[in-house]
Every structure is written in structure tokens, then in C-alpha cells.
């Protein structure tokens, strides 16, 4: 699905890039502003009562400066998988109620770096400078990997790069079903297309403009048929509205659709958020039940559900996954070693430990 874009704001120095021309052709009806006019428009958008609402249909084309290959920032006192991120822009055309981007950004438009060649060059430099170790990459620190891919074609370009580098894996994480451009690229087995999954209730009520769960699953099947591995991320898990039944149903459908051998990993994370998110989301969407559960400040200052309750939730979901695939490689995103031990029965004391655990999906 190609997300609708009404306005394109272009920085003066980003105008002459190939990607800029391609995007302008893809959206012939969009209002285009360049240079100072674009900056003024951006400033006006920021003053609107809900800047994000128009921002979701506005693309800002800029040159990405600074580090384009980054480490996942993780969070203090919890274990992080150490994924490296290819930073191609920020912002997302979808509008999930729980999205943390609402807090982190003060610029409402979706920003895309038009100098994708620089990202690829930085990536290749890194891969070639460390040929003896395994690297796990994903795209989009604050963006969906595939939402805008029908217009950028960045993922296809990356698949070809990773086809030539067996010492690395690429994970494309999405809530969209935009995988058609990736079909027919003969992936070499180190590419994982990962889908963010949830219960049907959460997906339908809180994931605005994301692909429906059925479509995500159909896309996962297509991806597997085209030679890709697929991952599934239950993140955020939100224990509302008969959640046990809801998540069980989603897990059953995953395993009814995809061969477990093609799933290198599944991750889980119960909803956690910085306190400001509740107020911002309430201002934008009104009161939503998911922000009114009993939360407590975790070790990193974010709101989390009581640890013993999280353990119960994780156990329930892991049990169902293991019912279908006892060998499934399940991991937690940003959890403590205590939760790892209690919910999974695994000793996981460090970021390196988790990184090795995930690398083992590709290193035998």
C-alpha cells in the first residue's frame, strides 16, 4: 500500500538527488515547497493544534548528516539485543496510539534522507572493516522499515547489498504489508522481514493506518515463498480486553500460515512508555484504556506494568509459541535478567549474551 502524501517539503540541498525526483514523480498531486518556503511551512505546521495529524501526510526530504549507521540506544538497566540501525529518516505515516515517536519528535513531518547512497557506503565500509564477525542490522531507528518503501526502494537496494555479505543479517521491521518490491530478489537467507504483531483487538483499535493483521500474515507468507526468513515482534503487548484469547489467536494464525523453520526469532515486550506519552496521546486521541492500566516507574524511569504481572503475561505467550514450535528462539526486548529467568527460565545477564543468542540464528 502506498501511503497518501499531500505535501512534500524539500531542503534546498536535497533537491538534486535521484530519490527526490523519484518521490516527486510518485506523488504528482502533492503540494511541493522548497528551501525557505518549506521551512516556513514546517514552522506553521508545528503551531497547529495537532501537528502530527498533518505531519503524517507530509514528507520532508533532507540530507542525512552525522552517523547513518548507529547502535540501538537501548534503555538503562534492561538487556538490549545490540542491533545496529541503518538510519534512513524518521517518522511514520501510521499513527499508533502508543507510538513513542509522539514524545521524541518536535518536528511533525516524516523525514527521509535522500542520500541513501551514503548509508549504503557507510554500511559497506563497516562490513568490510570487520569481516570476521557477524553483524545484525535493521533499518529505521524511529521509522517503519517498509512503510515508504514503495516510493523509496531502499529495502530492495539493501537486500542486494546483504546478498553479497553473508557475515551480516538485515531485519526489515514493519507494520505494513509492503513487500511486493522485495519479491524476486533471490535473497541469500540472511534477510529477515519482521512483522509487528498484536491481538486483533489492539491492531484494530490502536494501530491506525497499519495493515490489518490478516494482511501482515499474508505478506509474511509471500515473503517466505520468496525466500526470506520472517520474524514476529509482539511489541507492545497490551493486556486488555481478553488479551489471553487475543494473543493466542494471533500466535495460532502465525503458525497456521508460516513454517516455523523460517522464523529465526520472535520477540516480546509489554508496553512501556515515558510518562509524557500518556498526556500527549490523551491530547491527541482522548482517553484510551491502554494508558490507564496500573503502571509503575521501572528501573529506567519508564512506566511499566508490575514485573510479576509481566512474567505471567510472557509465560502465557511463550507457552503458546512453544506449543507450536518448541525450538522457537524467543527473546525479550528491554527486559531485566530477573524477567528472563522467571518468565523464560534462561540466564541472560548482558547485552552481549542476548546478541550471541540472536546471532546463533545465523551462525551454526
Amino acid at each position: 500500500m502506498k501511503f497518501p502524501i499531500d505535501k512534500i517539503l524539500i531542503d534546498s540541498d536535497a533537491y538534486d538527488y535521484d530519490l527526490t525526483s523519484r518521490i516527486l514523480k510518485e506523488y504528482p498531486a502533492a503540494q511541493v515547497m522548497v528551501g525557505d518556503e518549506a521551512l516556513l511551512e514546517l514552522r506553521n505546521m508545528e503551531l497547529a493544534c495537532d501537528p502530527f495529524r498533518t505531519g503524517k501526510r507530509t514528507l520532508r526530504l533532507i540530507i542525512g548528516k552525522g552517523a547513518l549507521v548507529k547502535d540501538c540506544p537501548g534503555t538503562n538497566n534492561y538487556i538490549c539485543c545490540g542491533l545496529k540501525i541503518l538510519h534512513f529518516g524518521q517518522g511514520c505515516p501510521m499513527d499508533c496510539h502508543y507510538c513513542a515517536l509522539q514524545v521524541y519528535f518536535n518536528r511533525p513531518a516524516i523525514e527521509l534522507f535522500v542520500n541513501q547512497g551514503d548509508i549504503v557506503r557507510e554500511l559497506e565500509r563497516r562490513l568490510e572493516s570487520q569481516p570476521d564477525r557477524f553483524h545484525r542490522f535493521c533499518t529505521g531507528e524511529f521509522a517503519d522499515s517498509l512503510a515508504l518503501d514503495p516510493v523509496t526502494g531502499f529495502a530492495s537496494e539493501l537486500v542486494q547489498v546483504f546478498n553479497a555479505h553473508p557475515n551480516a543479517s538485515l531485519e526489515l521491521k514493519t507494520k505494513s504489508d509492503n513487500i511486493d518490491d522485495l519479491i524476486g530478489l533471490n535473497p541469500t537467507g540472511n534477510i529477515v522481514i519482521s512483522f509487528s504483531m498484536n491481538s486483533y483487538h489492539i491492531a484494530a483499535t490502536h494501530e491506525i493506518r497499519a495493515a490489518g493483521l490478516k494482511n501482515r500474515l499474508l505478506a509474511a507468507k509471500k515473503a517466505v515463498d520468496a525466500g526470506y526468513h520472517v520474524g514476529f515482534h509482539f511489541d507492545p503487548i497490551i493486556p486488555i480486553d481478553d488479551w489471553k484469547v487475543g494473543y493466542k489467536r494471533t500466535i495460532d494464525q502465525i503458525y497456521n500460515t508460516v513454517d516455523p523453520e523460517k522464523i529465526p526469532w520472535l520477540s516480546m515486550g509489554v508496553l512501556r512508555f515515558v510518562p509524557q506519552l500518556k498526556e500527549i496521546a490523551m491530547t491527541r486521541f482522548g482517553p484510551r484504556d491502554l494508558f490507564h492500566l496500573p503502571y509503575h516507574r521501572g528501573l529506567d524511569g519508564k512506566f511499566r506494568i508490575f514485573s510479576e504481572k509481566r512474567i505471567e503475561i510472557y509465560k502465557e505467550i511463550i507457552d503458546r509459541i512453544k506449543f507450536h514450535d518448541p525450538k522457537a528462539r524467543v527473546y525479550f526486548c528491554m527486559e531485566s535478567s530477573y524477567i528472563w529467568e522467571k518468565a523464560m527460565g534462561m540466564k541472560m545477564d548482558s547485552d552481549q549474551g542476548l546478541s550471541d543468542y540472536l546471532d546463533s540464528a545465523f551462525i551454526h
Binding site: 493544534c49 495537532d50 491530547t283 511499566r304 508490575f306 524477567i339
Partner: protein
Amino acid sequence: MVVDQSASEQDCYEACFWDNIGHRKLDASSRAQCLRRLMELFPRLDVIQRFLPFLGVPSQGPKIERLLRIGALCEEALSNLALGRIHERTAFAMSFRPKHEQQFLMRLINESGLNLNNASQVIEDLIDIATAREMEIENIIAEFDTKDISNPEVGRVYDGKELKKAVKRIKDPEFETTREGHEAWVKSLNLPRLVKITPANSFEDKSINMMVTFKSRDELELGLKEIKEIIPT
């Protein structure tokens, strides 16, 4: 100030604004009401560019919308906000509840004698419970056993401390049981006055911190020696 009879409401409000803003420090409640009125009378961009800097409100971010909602609260809530009896954050949370519930919450707080932080906490917890369970706030309170949240000896309709506890128990019973269990255990240890024991933040894991205050370096060294004997590493 002399006002021309033919002056519009807009002109009058603006004249009043400039007449007052230079020498008055507005509290959150007045600021919210003033902003709301300005937005009714002037275009949004005009308010942002001409008036906001003098109200001390940032032109970007959620603050404007938050104040606009607060400005529409019931009078009792606005008055409690002005008197510093509830936080601005709490007033904002209340703005999503119907007027009769706002009034009920204000009565509840005034009749329980809770301080600013505790009052705000109780209100926010009640709003969380009501929103998550789609209940009316009055019905949550009605579920309490009256004797559990009232205490004739404190001379108020509600015993604030007990009310706070009761609300917390409803909101997250498992967490409260753990917290109460921890407190009972610490009490059973009969700790010396200068020793404090605290769990991990929100019981995120089973680690326990012990803080000991020593009166001197000599005393600390003595204590350390004994600790090393118990925990050699």
C-alpha cells in the same frame, strides 16, 4: 481604564489583557481560562504570536491544548487548581471526565484532607480505574466499605490515608499486596533508626538496597569489617 461603548468584546478583552499581564503573575487556572478566552476571540495564530509569550506558554507541543482543556473544567476544579490543591497534570486528566464527576472528585478531595501530592494521586488513580474499566468514578467509591475509608476520629468524611490505600488496592491489587508484604517484613526486622531498606524500583526485581548512616568514619569502618565477614566478596 475607560472603555469606549462602541469597542468590541475582542478589543475590550485585549485592553484588559495588556492592562493586567504586565503586573500580574497568573496561576495555572487563570492562565488556562485566559488562554481559552483568547482562543475564542482571536485566530489561533494571532494568539500564538501576540499573546502566548506573555502568558509564558510555549508555542509548540501539547501545552496549549492541555491548557485549553483545563480552562473548561468545572469551577470547583479551577478554584482548587488556583489554590494549589491539585497539580496541573491532574486537572488535565480530569478534563476528560464529565462535569458531575469533576465536582464529585473535588468534594472527595476537600472532604478527605489530602495534601497536594496525595490528592492528585488519588484523583489520577480513580480516573485510571474508571477509564480502564469503563466505570463511573462515584461507583468505584460506592464499592468501598464505608468503614474502610472513613474514620470518625479524624473529623472528616473520609480518612485520606485510608482512601488512598483503598484506591491503590483496587487499581493494582497484586502490586499493593507485594508492597504491603515488603513493609510488614521490614517492620518485623526491627531495624535501628539509621538503617533504611528499600526494594528495587517498583519491585522490578528481587534486589534489596540497605542504606546505613554512620555517625563517623570509625563507626563505618567497624561496620564494614563486620559486613565483610558476612559477605566476603
